[in-house]
């Protein structure tokens, strides 16, 4: 018998050797980067950002739940969710780097677009990394095992510079729009909108670079000016934004989901749900042990705001099967009566990364920071009137001072983007996180007034322990964590 019987090629899958040979395969490599973003709504926006904020109050769970530790400022370097998010984000970075290296030999027409997409998505990942973990290593190529142990944590400012470079490249190389079959890919406007947000964040905590404000303004103005019914716009009816029929219609950039049981569905309606009656969905909610705070599920958020009904609900059935009001839950992404869903993580709705409303409100925020409240008011009013609220005027108490208007915008952002993972980052960059969250925890947890005073170290998470142990002592843990 010959020794070639030992040459068994894998039955299961292709191998990297012999791949990336043509445009189709390179495009499949680009798709793999996008695929890496599918976990972001859960692992970044919901389990980390939203649970850390005052939009959700997690009870102490019956079994140890990472989101409960996140919510109650109890995370340690061993909190599994942090490791999961870290790994997911660096997977996007890795796939982006693979693509950028493997695309080198090619010069077909879509090469700049593919590179732009790769760098846009890498920037998206790094923006979360730097906001969650502070100084993180900058990885701009694929690494060997040895190399991976020697990448230092780059200062926060350097990480932002890296992000800005990627986004500037993406803005220059991505097309402004795509044909129907490619709808959902990152556009030039997505890159510029994200860049605007990055600059605005650099203007706030922790970098506080005042020079970033005009840069943010430029990007946001460009995107604002590009709005149209065929690109992106403020949705006339808030609830329409989250319907799968309107995928890629209003928002600047969305993570694409679809039903069909192929693993490309959105798990967020399930994660954010408690109990769904069968006429809402054939699958019930996850029913995590959390409650919604009075600021949202209560008189503080007036019903007149049409966004409230589109964001929250509470339905449970009593013993005899009748529906009674009860456990509040987010139903923003749940289209009640949805059909075609194959399992609980198979909802069709896209998840917005940058909505046009975000661009509008950020633009208003930039103007407010410049002291130009008068120009900011009509921008904010676009959102308010669409939501059924009275428009602000210069005479409104909210417009009485810069501080008041800042607060008004922050509040507007909260209602607009609740359950989308924005609130925590807004609180941090505007410098409100410590005071708001300490008060919030003291009013919602069993510890009551005994809940500790939060401090700067609570504004970022610890580096996951297993990553620290790859090369012990090479990286220092974030202050205040074990």
């Amino acid at each position: 018998c010959k020794e070639d019987i030992l040459q068994i090629q894998p039955v299961a899958n292709n191998t990297v050797d012999g791949f990336y040979q043509n445009e189709i395969q390179v495009n499949q490599g680009v798709m793999a980067i996008y695929n890496g973003t599918l976990s972001l709504p859960e692992n970044s926006y919901w389990f980390l950002a939203e649970f850390r904020s005052d939009n959700v109050a997690a009870d102490i769970a019956t079994v140890q739940r990472d989101y409960s530790d996140v919510s109650n400022f109890n995370t340690t370097s061993q909190t599994q969710q942090l490791q999961a998010t870290w790994t997911d984000l660096f997977e996007i970075v890795y796939r982006s780097n693979v693509l950028q290296e493997r695309i080198q030999p090619f010069n077909f027409a879509r090469v700049p677009q593919f590179k732009g997409e790769a760098r846009f998505l890498r920037a998206l990942a790094y923006f979360d990394l730097v906001r969650f973990f502070g100084a993180v290593p900058i990885v701009n190529k694929t690494l060997t095992i040895e190399e991976s142990k020697q990448v230092p944590r780059a200062p926060v400012a350097d990480v932002y510079k890296f992000i800005v470079d990627d986004l500037l490249f993406a803005a220059d190389n991505l097309p402004a729009s795509y044909a129907a079959a490619d709808k959902g890919r990152a556009t030039k406007w997505a890159a510029k909108a994200l860049l605007g947000k990055v600059y605005l964040t650099m203007y706030g905590y922790p970098l506080r670079q005042t020079s970033a404000l005009p840069l943010a303004k430029q990007q946001l103005m460009d995107v604002y000016a590009a709005a149209s019914p065929t690109t992106f716009s403020v949705a006339a009816n808030f609830a329409d934004l989250f319907k799968s029929a309107n995928d890629n219609k209003y928002a600047v950039f969305e993570i694409q989901f679809q039903s069909g049981g192929t693993g490309l569905g959105n798990p967020i309606p399930w994660q954010q749900g408690q109990v769904f009656p069968t006429n809402w969905s054939p699958f019930t909610g996850f029913a995590a042990d959390f409650t919604l705070p009075p600021a949202l599920f209560g008189a503080n958020w007036p019903k007149a705001d049409k966004r409230k009904a589109a964001t929250l609900d509470s339905v449970v059935r009593n013993a005899s099967g009748a529906i009674v009001a009860g456990r509040p839950e987010f139903t923003k992404f749940l289209e009640k009566g949805v059909a075609g869903v194959q399992n609980r993580t198979d909802y069709p709705n896209n998840f917005p990364i940058i909505r046009f409303e975000d661009v509008v409100l950020m633009y208003a925020e930039v103007l407010t920071e410049e002291g130009n409240i008068a120009q900011a008011i009509p921008l904010v009013n676009q959102i308010r009137t669409r939501s059924g609220l009275t428009a602000f005027t210069l005479a409104s108490p909210e417009a009485a001072s810069q501080a008041n208007f800042r607060a008004a915008i922050l509040k507007e952002r909260r209602y607009e983007f609740v359950a989308e993972g924005q609130r925590w980052h807004d609180l941090v960059r505007t410098g409100n996180a410590i005071s708001v969250m300490t008060a919030f925890k003291r009013s919602t947890t069993a510890a009551g007034a005994n809940f500790r005073q939060l401090d700067d170290h609570d504004l970022i998470f610890p580096i996951p322990l297993l990553e620290l142990r790859i090369n012990p002592g090479f990286w220092q843990q974030n202050p205040g964590y074990n």
Binding site: L6, T15, I33, N74, T76, Q258, T278, A287, Q342
Partner: protein
Amino acid sequence: QSAATRAVSGKVTTADTKEALPGVTVLLKGTTVGTGTGPDGTYTLQVPEQGGTLVFSFVGYASKEVAINGQTTISPVLDVDAKGLDEVVVVGYGTQKAGNVTGAVTGITAKEIEERPVNRIENALVGQMPGVYVQTTTGEPGAELQIRVRGAASINASNDPLYVVDGVPVDNLRGINPTDVANIEVLKDAASAAIYGSRGSNGVVLVTTKRGKKGAAKLQFSGYTGVQLAESRLKVQSAEEWIQMRKEGIDIDWVNQNPALNRPEDSRATRLQRLTVNGTPPSQTNVIRYTYDPKWQYGQDSLDYVDWQKAIFRRAIMQQYTVGVSGGTDNVTYNVNGSFLNQNGIILGSDLQRATLRANIDAQIRKGIKLFMTLAPSMEWSSLGRVDGTGGQALNAAQMPPVSPKGAGIYAGADPYFTYNYSGRYISPVAVMERTDANGTRTRLNANMGLNLDLYKGFQLQLLGAMDNGYFQDQIYTPTNASRDWVGAAPGSLSTSRYSQTFNTRYLFQSVLNYTRSFGDHSLNAILGYSVERTKVDFSQQENGQLPNDQTYLFDRANSTVNRSYITAGKEALLSYFARAQYDYKQRYLLSASIRRDGSSKFGANRPFGYFPAVSAGWRISGENFMQGVTFISDLKARASWGVTGNNRIPNDSQFSLLGVSNYSLGGASINGYAPIGFQNRDLGWEQTASWNYGLDFSVLNNRLQVTADYYTKQTTDLLYQVPLSSLTGFTRTYVNIGQVYNQGVELGLTSRNVVGAFEWTTNFNASYNKNRVEKLDYDDTPVPTGSSPGGFVSLLQVGLPINSYYLYDAIGVYQTQAEVDNEPKLSNTRVGDIKYRDVNGDGKITDADRTIMGNPTPKYIFGVTNTFRYKGFDLNVLVNAQQGAYLYSLIGRSIDRPGMGYLYNHASNWNNRWKSEAEPGDGKTPSITAQNSSLLDSRWLYKSDYIRLKNITLGYTLPKARFYNGARLYVALENAYIWHNYTGGFSPEALQLGGFDNGSYPQARTYTLGFNLTL
């Protein structure tokens, strides 16, 4: 034909003590005519007038044949039969005289298996052999036991030994009826195992099944039936204790609700009233959060108190029956055995049935040509566990609230009964076990056929073809009423039905050329062999949900939704060449050398082949002239060996950088995407173990005491291990050949015939000591975290320490007072009532640097002692086994014994003594339920797993011979009679599961059995 007969009589005595020997079988050779000796050693037997030979046999003595030759009195003297030096021992690809063995080989025979109820082969090995550590990691019926030969050498590759049944390597011993087994040998040292090359590193377990012997057909029946009871249970809070703790939780919430006004002694009425005044309407949620259940004062008049462990445990019947026929003519011999086992598990709804058949046939086709074949189909039907591990029902039962709504009882939370409203979401584990329909069918067909050809003057060629095919079919159906979310759910809406199929095939072809020659005082045996093995696994799984109703598990895409539907496959090939020579001079100087070359498809293109040499030597000192005068020593042999073995037990395709499907949807359509899912490693190769073994065998006092002692070292290099990667690489783990582990150990085996004669007492004792340490790791010896679980890791690999040493924060109590918190080292968020950790480095704070090494999961010492007593027809066997020096980390313990659990579910009973306030500090070990540092995996759940187990007591009675049967024995046995241990974290200190944890393993059973063996 009525041949004339006459009587022969006599008395049988022993050679060593000259005492009368009762119970000796006296048989007229070649017939079924026979009798036994009476209490005084005498017998009388009718024999033919002419010719004939009598055979006298008795356990522990060499049988003796005496030609009758017209004598009327025959009174033989029987010699004690030590393990005969001429007895044949199975070694790889052949046999060897026991006296000539130069490696470390140990074994048991059919007798040890047949004389007690054994439901899996491995169970018969527990406590029997030095250096062979058999652990019952789960008590689930039919589950595999874990065998470790001389410690663990590997980190990520498997540490299971290679199993070889009748010369054919197989994956496991599933589906083999223990009573089919003639003997089991374990090759422990590298020199013995190296003939199995790349798979020999963890030792080799050679199982030989019974084959027929020439003679009239012998019919054998055996069987046993027994009752199993749970050996242990977890200590959890009673209903009263749980209610008490629940009340305290409500009071704390109440006081926190408005610290200025609310006091714990406020009545329900006051609370309800004040809730309204405070502007918080007393919704149902708030009433439950802030007030007691009025039913508590009526206790069991208004509520059901449930002991959930009692609810899921049951008395369970186990029975097995075997029927066998063996015999043969001059040219054809056969042994056919069929068996059926029916074992109900001690946990509701977990059952196993097994049916086996084994037919071994040998035929002398013509002079010099012999054919042998085996046909061994088996089937197992099991209910697929559902008890073990996280999410398993053993854990569920431990943490269920012990109070149910009145009338719901053990079905609380399961349709149509609601959960108790002062608890959380749950469903009765009883309902889950009863309503879930889980059936696994495992069909295995093991068959082989071969030819032995005598070629020329001692040259013999053996050709063997074998196949081992398995077809596993698992089906699990969960109807809507087995879900905790059944309330309001339409029929079928929560149902799922899963169907998985595994089909694996293994084909082996081997040819071995054997040369045996003796010339003068020299004898030589040499083999030269070639073998090729190919395996293939196909797996498919379908799962649909939302079946149209809850009537059937059958589904169709048209009336349900597809949850999963996929197939996978894998292939593997192993190509080997091997040679061995064994030489002895006067059976005094013994030499053996072997080499094997293995090629495997599992390794990288640069390194597919490995070489595995071995040499060994022995010196039978007692054979020397100068020893002839030393009558005290009957046998003395010194042995030494060296060899290299390998380990290739890693998943297929580990050497490739595979592409994983990574799709994305655009414009509403799914678009294919691919991303690499691992590193490519062209250099991936064998893990190698070089091992030295030094042994001494001796018997003294006319073989009354036999001793075997071994010392060994094992150096494992090029460890196949999945290094944890920085996520920066894009991956989290990859297989590489890095690192070194060193094992060394001492083994001692003693067989002592304490009393011989009419009353006989034999003690078999074995003890082993093993120590391992990691010598080298990743490129720069970075310690590697292992034993990771949600929440972190508990152990690590570190150079200089044993494998998987626990590395934990050492919990030394509870901060009893604020002063302690203020003045003592602490974690940053610490409050009074939190767990206190030892400041290992003494820097005044508790940080990651204060984790410390605290033991490891591998026992240092293992012991087994078997005492056998025989008197007349009675025999009593007592087996005790023990281990010492290992630790076990319990995650099941942690799940009911952890701060942050809240008040809703049940807790370990030590929570009655938790820290409540400075005035009520509890037991000093259990913290406050709201302790802040709750998510750390610390030493509170690390337990010593030392134990001494009275593993088996069997009392048997061999009936006197009667006309209508040849032999008959009845026995009663008690398995797992008693265990001494201090493990409170789970059900059994043996429950070491993947990663070094007890994840809530199926409890072991104490089994009372009645059995019989009958030969016709």
